[in-house]
Symmetry: C2
DNA sequence: GAAGGGGTTTGTATTAATTACAACTTTATT
DNA sequence: AATAAAGTTGTAATTAATACAAACCCCTTC
């Protein structure tokens, strides 16, 4: 990830999404960090840069990106959606102590399932939960 | 699944959950079908059997079950939580046409991940999305 | 069997994420 | 510059979920 603004511009153009100032800022924000922010986090953090920003715009833009396949929704938690600009195959781990969400590599080809031969699978999400190394250390005290 | 009422009673007792009439009805409802209902569906369907039932009670009971590990929350969709009384390892497939959620077997042991050696993993959720065989057939017309 | 107490249920009010929608603004096209 | 199309904004509405206090039920103890 961590695309240049120009690469991002082409990414949007390829999907027929007009690369407005706001959309580019939101995509840049998402692509620049791997924190899987909520819509509200994106809104709050961009507000000082785009003082006229509205939360509806954040939702509109995110939904546009998700429909175009540029962004993926992470529903690891039941109370709020998170967003990820990395659409390549990988899993998400949520630490139940600090709440951080970590990416981890997954061998999707080696993931053996049964009974899905007649299903068309378009999306695969792998969500793990537990405790992260940092919180495990802090907890020893 | 599909436990007898008595087996259910012992299941609750083992977890120190008092087996009230309402709780048993909710657990029976969950255990009897594999439709992964929402809290609202459970509420609506039990209302004719328990006319005094309150939606808060459904949420309270479900949260109690989830904390005790008897029920698992399915967050395959971002707008509502679903519930599953089958806590054994398996994946969930949601059809984007009919909305049904299907269980499928997954070989968790063969699921190869990287970078998690120092993490403690307590829960694994596998969510697939796409189109189910029934909807694929109907769509040919 | 009455009194008391802990846990359970209920209803209402509240919170918070998300969407609906109409007005307004910006951008593209002629 | 005029006009149309698309994007943005703010407010209101929707809806899942929780907070909380009152009412209720069941079990124990006197």
């Amino acid at each position: 990830m961590n695309l240049s603004t120009e690469a991002l511009l082409n990414l949007l153009k390829d999907k027929n999404i007009r690369p407005s100032y706001t959309r580019i800022k939101i995509m840049e924000y998402l692509a620049a960090r791997r924190t899987h922010p909520t819509a509200d986090e994106i809104y709050s953090n961009l507000l000082h840069e785009i003082p006229t920003l509205s939360k509806t715009t954040v939702y509109n833009s995110l939904n546009t990106f998700v429909k175009a396949g540029l962004v993926r929704t992470v529903t690891i938690e039941d109370n709020e959606a998170r967003f990820d600009a990395d659409t390549s195959d990988h899993g998400h781990f949520k630490c139940d102590m600090c709440g951080n969400i970590y990416d981890f590599p997954v061998d999707m080809a080696g993931l053996h399932t049964k009974g899905l031969s007649r299903f068309i699978v378009k999306q695969r999400d792998i969500y793990f939960k537990g405790t992260c190394p940092g919180c495990l250390e802090n907890n020893i005290n």
